[in-house]
């Protein structure tokens, strides 16, 4: 599905997703249920808004002082015995990870959730170099076995039904055919991955927060998979985007209150693991990755997207995401936040994403660090059009609309013509070539425009 999707844009892929209506409804309702859990958790905190505002300001300050904090983090991490690497782009990140594995003669690695490694396509790169990677988060393991990317940053296989997962487990992990009980499937994965954890000498994890002041980093999981991998292995590699920094340890007291309440409605993840030093005799590596982040930092209108703490709340609430599925975004991070991050990485390839929104603003309202997501989506649309990255049809339509809207005379004429045609020849708009007509009835055209009505009534009133 993803292979075919490379040439198709978000709305075309959403069309594919929408062919199975009961499934779309199920997907929609599941995510809305998580959004409701988020609300319940947020409303239980009396000063939730103060918490959001504080988090947003801490991130804003951090971004304004990032070069200094990166150096402070490096110095303190090194003093703790952590090896710090710098990767300008995805390619360099992958090469650094590979060179660490090569140095230790490792050809099998276990990995916990890291959206950055999805962004860098690390698994594919390592596979090409003869390294086997097993994803240890249950949802990620499921999509890995299905040879699909995750469709959600927090809930990687939210698009899959348990029966489908049962089939995958039957094929790959030997469960009996037709078994789809989540309890049994999870237990099977536990046994399978326990063997993996016990036999891998290298583990890679993501990073939720890195603290400049202490040189430590925090990894949050519910399953305990990051810890099982990292504590059993000889070598722990942690990959992080440079925007994951926070200035001080005490700031974790703000962000850890927000993260999981926003993500799943839990008061905190089961495990919030603070890695400050490697175990004696073992290695801990941190790879600091730029990959376009410094460019985004320079875009004044889009800089705030770097505040993101990857909770996924904007996806769960988004009416477009819920009804189009994560895969229709063709980006490691889907949904509203993904749609403002991806155009920075490749504007031409992701030109469709800022349009995958109704601009309703729900994403902005739930964002725990108060990113102005829907404003940025709107601003990206203008940039993308100006740079000539929209298809000719959309560009022509927008040009025509701009011409009509900028001249009162043309606007009047166009309105009149529209009303006339819709009354006399409704087929002209009520046909499948009109995308607006697809899921809607066209309105009954009024007999006169507001302008005409106003002129008539104003005259009466004046007399």
């Amino acid at each position: 599905m993803m292979g075919a999707g490379k040439t198709r844009d978000h709305s075309a892929l959403a069309d594919v997703f929408n062919q199975d209506e009961p499934r779309v409804n199920w997907h929609d309702e599941t995510l809305w249920f998580i959004r409701q859990k988020r609300d319940k958790a947020a409303f239980a905190i009396p000063d939730w808004e103060l918490l959001r505002e504080t988090a947003s300001q801490i991130k804003a300050h951090t971004l304004s002082h990032l070069s200094q904090y990166l150096q402070e983090f490096e110095k303190n991490a090194q003093a703790n015995g952590i090896t710090v690497h710098w990767a300008a782009d995805a390619q360099e990140h992958n090469e650094i990870v590979f060179s660490i594995l090569q140095k230790h003669g490792v050809d099998r690695m276990v990995k916990s959730k890291s959206m950055l490694t999805e962004e860098c396509h690390l698994n594919d790169y390592l596979a090409r170099h003869g390294i086997e990677v097993i994803d240890s988060d249950l949802g990620e393991r499921i999509v890995q076995l299905a040879q699909e990317p995750p469709s959600h940053i927090v809930l990687p296989c939210i698009h899959k039904k348990k029966e489908e997962i049962g089939e995958i487990f039957h094929e790959h992990l030997g469960t009996e055919a037709g078994m789809s009980d989540p309890q049994v499937l999870t237990e099977t994965a536990r046994q399978h991955l326990r063997e993996t954890f016990l036999t891998r000498r290298a583990a890679l994890t993501g990073v939720n927060f890195a603290v400049a002041e202490t040189g430590e980093f925090v990894v949050c999981t519910n399953e305990g998979n990051a810890d099982m991998g990292a504590h059993l292995a000889d070598v722990h590699i942690a990959s992080m985007g440079i925007e994951k920094l926070i200035p001080r340890r005490e700031h974790l007291g703000v962000f850890l209150r927000l993260l999981t309440r926003s993500a799943t409605g839990q008061p905190i993840t089961t495990y919030s693991s603070h890695f400050r030093k490697p175990r004696p005799g073992h290695e801990m590596h941190v790879v600091l990755v730029d990959n376009g982040r410094s460019v985004q930092l320079g875009r004044e209108d889009f800089r705030n997207s770097l505040k993101c703490i990857r909770c996924g709340a904007c996806m769960n609430t988004c009416p477009v995401y819920r009804r189009s599925g994560g895969h229709s975004y063709k980006s490691a991070v889907a949904g509203p936040i993904g749609s403002i991050l991806a155009p920075n990485l490749d504007m031409k390839k992701h030109a469709d994403l800022p349009f995958a929104s109704t601009l309703c603003g729900s994403c902005t309202n739930v964002c725990p660090v108060k990113i102005d997501i829907h404003d940025q989506l709107y601003k990206w649309r203008q940039v993308v059009v100006q740079e000539g990255h929209v298809d000719a049809k959309k560009a022509a339509g927008m040009k025509a609309m701009a011409a009509v809207l900028s001249s009162p005379a043309t606007f009047k004429l166009a309105g009149k013509a529209g009303r006339l045609f819709m009354r006399r020849v409704p087929l002209l708009v009520n046909n499948s070539f009109n995308p607006w007509y697809k899921q809607r009835e066209m309105p009954q055209p009024p007999n006169e425009s507001f302008r005409e009505w106003y002129r008539k009534n104003r005259k009466q009133h004046d007399q």
Binding site: P46, K161, M228
Partner: protein, 195 residues
Amino acid sequence: MTSREKILRAVAQNQPALLPLPEVPPFQQDTSELSGRFTEVAVAIGARVFRVMDYGEVAQVLRQNFLPSHRIISAIPELAGFAEATPLQDAHRHQLATVDLAVAAAHFGVAENGAVWLTEEQMGVRVLPFITQHLAVVLPVKQILPLMPDAYARIGQAAYGYGVFMAGPSKTADIEQSLVLGAHGPRTMTVFLID
């Protein structure tokens, strides 16, 4: 130019003018009934909580759930008679895969989320509270703090190598949002609130 220099130069060039770092404000908190609220949240996230008078009572509760044939490890001196005597070594950490129960002392708990704070010296070996099938934590009832900012005020500048907030047993809801306890880590977590 190294990548380090390149990244730092690009970031320095593109970062906006310095914005102020806000003080973390005092958040609203209820300091009454801390153990009651801790218990309520911990139970809601899947933990079992017992209020006990002393370590004798801890051992008594655990004996009801575990047999002498079970492999039990504890770094708490008062429970020495109940657990394996061999000291833990990081080099032999893979052998902990057969542990049935690990018992550890926690520094403190947090009422708002039912989490307890552990550092590696309380675990013996970092992987122990994850690889064990069942986990029990002993928490002095006076050491329950209201909110996470209180937790970090308590942690201060502590120079641990590894520390973790643990909130309930390992869990996942990755399959159709059905909650399953015991993903990769402990299947159960028991907290003993000790006077």
